[in-house]
Symmetry: C2
Subunit: 538 residues, 2 copies
């Protein structure tokens, strides 16, 4: 217990330091020189530790000799509050009665199956067969697997050289699977797509890292990112030593993305000597949930073309749309519909098997479609991919399946559609129920989740709560999230982890708990929130 | 055909440029400033291209605006000669009669299943069941899967929170699987191992990148690497902007690793202002195949401890030992047997499911065991891991299986042992047959492969051949390998891709073609080599 308390104290101090540096809001200033940005407090603490330990010989590695870019990187969705939650969970396992709740509800991260979502049967049948291909020769297999899954597994094996599911593939992924994905993209968009432009990756994250590695040489290279943003972008830019150039989404207009804001921020960055290399757009939005309108997307494409920016389109939530009046359009479709070709605009679209209705996060599958780069640059992207040899084959197979699911007439079609629609319509109901609940509360306003898997409610906190947070050395939304966790077991991520307009406070909450749990979550949340507001009412 | 010829010409020019910069041998000099190292020739070519294309607006990205560290990175085992082989393969598919062979033999990379090695049944049964867990509730499953595979799948599912094989796991990997791996390590070494020190990764490559990212801040940070080395290390050091500090293995003593050489190179690097952070040791060696003796390993541990270096131990070939008088000892076992604890030495051991007798390259599983770092540095390693969320779950499961295979008494034990021993003893025979064949030839000397999956024969080429290579603007070993490929379809990697003592020439050849193909390979090789020597005899 003493160790736990000490740990808690240590974390609180660390949190206060981080919050202090964070609460100033995101800054478009270039990152400081790689040799100097380790937070002064951390350096001082490390020095104190080094001095207090009588070390024999030279210490091989310490917090002040490691890469300062690593120190600078933050990743809120798996950050400090998550570690706190994991500690509470261990506490619960040891003493189930010790806390005022009986489980941690992980609403911090888009991880559907961790909260009980079942995998799509057809996809898992095919993966299971491809993992053990000798099954395909056995008659008993027909008793356990659907006929179209068996057929599909054969088709996939035929695309793999030597049918070797355990071999490294081409570094972009198995050609036949890439072609299948390209066919799926073409069917989705109505425009040609080529398997040669597909790079299969272990989820979308490594693909984003690959592009950042390519585009960023130093802190003079900037990447325009939405604020709020998914912290993969800020983390990756920090790790590669570039500058995050923020543009703010407009909460008043449902997290609108205004081209005027892009222009303003671009000019401001340029005036500081930053060469802006790329624009990141997350559509549907994460953590914000908005779905961009076609006209808006056209203006964004035009902006990238005119300003010479690579368009990095995070389109991993393309299947997660919950409102009647919005539709997903890929940026490539928009660009092609405007008459732009490969020669006009370098464009990367990221897709993942972790999201959609399938939510196969643990499979680590995904791809990027890379268009509009010169052959020389393309070769460099390929080289970087080749240093990691290839992405995992099960993830590759799954990426081909989600882009080419069962069709009408296939044995699995009806059950597949029932699973798919069941998940998507339930997600839509959950999004609506949570949004209404948040909006019903004093001091919370919440935009609709048109898509993706999150709500990003704004907290209008009483001054007294803000003062209490400051006194505790933490950001107000982090203060709120910590109290929420400790009172209810509900884990959300403070808005400061995503960036927000300075002086505003939010949190991100996934819509992923199973539907039968939503009413209890809402009532636990309401109870906590009302008490919190009562306690801190000015 | 014209396009193919043009492509060939373009590649030949590129090859000559690279070979010219390469043939000077590895240099311990620090990398030039990140803004300047793009090869001058590449820059000039890019400029010419940019000028010849009338581009509208600012080009968004070009070969001279991308990260020069990416340009600098090379990865020979998937490099230019491999692309050439892939082009030849396409040629073969179109015109089977157009070339003097009917298939490409990919001896460039340790990819056993691509050359026909069959996966280990027990491992695949378990993966197949874990991919589709509903099978576990069906009686028909017993007709298709062994009882211990079913039992193991249950055990694994019980270790996964919510039995959710499709969820992101803890960023180090599933705790129960890490504990199982730690138990396997403890059984192997006879010293304690902890699941808390295991980081599961998508193969060993991302683990190596993670450590390089942590340890390298700038070109002033050096990493001691063997020469010859596996080019993952040079590529990763280049990508992260550090300096490769080479130490030469002694070919005369069977690729001996001498501590005097380590000391000499360390001093030389230090005199140039480089802070050496870590020592990479590959044991069993890649591409060199030597297995280090225990006494030698002790001296290496002592050296790292005295000099304050992190020991990065690439131990991915730990199961691939082919000689009676050698045994694998992990560096952790060696360090512990010397009485050194976690406080004495930061040590990282890399392991992969891609090698061993299983050769499951496509599954992208692996782990690193991280010991001897301060809690603060450990936390930073965790943070970097968390930015990529987690490694793929199938790879995690497989890593736990290879560290805990079937035991005596299990239903699969006998067939498992037969598969395992069959593969390992065949690899030993293949290594021996190829080594003897190489040594029987004029102008080739070849050390024994005591372990790993490669031979690294030395070419003693006639002066005339060296002159012809120079005239063709390529390194002599690259020249040889290209002619070998074009005459026989056998693809090997020139020694220049791994580094070698300047003025010596080698190639790396895997021992992985199936055993029944070895005699034909040897005779094709001999025929080519004899002709080559006759043609260029001085």
């Amino acid at each position: 217990m003493r160790r736990y308390a000490a740990d808690k104290a240590r974390r609180a101090v660390a949190a206060s330091l981080r919050a202090a540096s964070r609460s100033a809001g995101p800054s478009p200033a270039p990152a400081p020189h790689p040799r100097s940005p380790a937070p002064v407090a951390a350096m001082a603490a490390a020095l104190a530790r080094a001095m207090s330990t009588a070390s024999v010989g030279t210490p091989a590695v310490s917090i002040n000799t490691i890469n300062p870019k690593v120190l600078k990187c933050e990743y809120a969705v798996r950050g400090e509050i998550v570690t706190h939650a994991q500690n509470l969970q261990q506490e619960l396992q040891k003493n189930p009665e010790s806390l005022p709740f009986d489980e941690i509800l992980y609403c911090n991260i888009g991880n559907p199956q961790s909260l009980g979502q079942q995998p799509v049967t057809f996809f898992r049948e095919v993966l299971s067969l491809c993992d053990h291909p000798v099954l395909l020769d056995k008659s008993e297999t027909h008793a356990l697997y659907s006929s179209d899954a068996i057929e599909r597994a054969w088709q996939i094996l035929d695309k793999i050289p030597g049918r070797a599911t355990g071999a490294y593939s081409h570094s972009q992924g198995i050609k036949g699977l890439r072609d299948e994905i390209a066919a799926g993209i073409a069917a989705r968009d109505g425009f040609h797509a080529s398997g040669d432009n597909i790079f299969l990756t272990d989820g979308a994250s490594p693909a984003v890292h690959m592009m950042m590695q390519l585009l960023i040489s130093s802190e003079k290279d900037g990447i325009l990112c939405p604020i709020p943003q998914y912290p993969l972008y800020s983390a990756s830019i920090a790790l590669h030593g570039g500058s995050l150039v923020p543009y703010f989404l407009d909460e008043e207009t449902g997290w609108g993305l205004e081209v005027d804001e892009l222009k303003k921020q671009l000019e401001e960055a340029r005036s500081k000597g930053i060469t802006v290399r790329a624009l990141v757009v997350i559509n549907p939005g994460n953590p914000t949930g908005q779905v961009l309108a076609e006209e808006n997307q056209k203006k964004i494409v035009e902006f990238c073309k005119n300003e010479g920016l690579v368009l990095l389109a995070d389109e991993v939530y393309q299947e997660n749309i919950y409102v009647e009046d919005k539709q997903f359009h890929s940026f490539k479709k928009i660009a092609r519909s405007m008459g732009y070709t490969d020669d006009d605009l370098p464009l990367v679209s990221f897709q993942s098997v972790s999201k959609g209705y399938y939510g196969e996060c643990g499979k680590r599958g995904g791809y990027m479609e890379v268009t509009g780069f010169s052959p020389e640059v393309r070769e460099q992207i390929y080289k970087v991919a080749s240093v990691n040899l290839c992405s995992n084959i099960s993830g590759q197979i799954l990426a081909s399946l989600v882009m080419n699911p069962p069709k009408a007439g296939d044995e699995s079609f009806e059950s597949f559609m029932a699973e798919r629609d069941g998940i998507l319509s339930s997600l839509a109901r959950r999004a609506k129920a949570l949004e209404e609940a948040f909006n019903s509360l004093e001091g919370i306003t919440c935009n609709k989740a048109e898509g993706a898997m999150y709500l990003f409610p704004r907290l209008h906190l009483p001054q007294k709560a803000i003062g209490a947070a400051q006194a505790a050395g933490t950001a107000p939304d982090a203060y709120y999230a910590k109290h929420l966790l400790e009172a209810t077991g509900i884990l959300v991520v403070p808005g400061s982890g995503f960036g927000q307009v300075p002086g505003t406070w939010h949190f991100r909450c996934t819509i992923l708990p199973q539907e039968d749990k939503i009413p209890a979550i809402i009532s636990r949340f309401k109870e906590f929130h009302e008490k919190f507001m009562d306690e801190y009412r000015d």
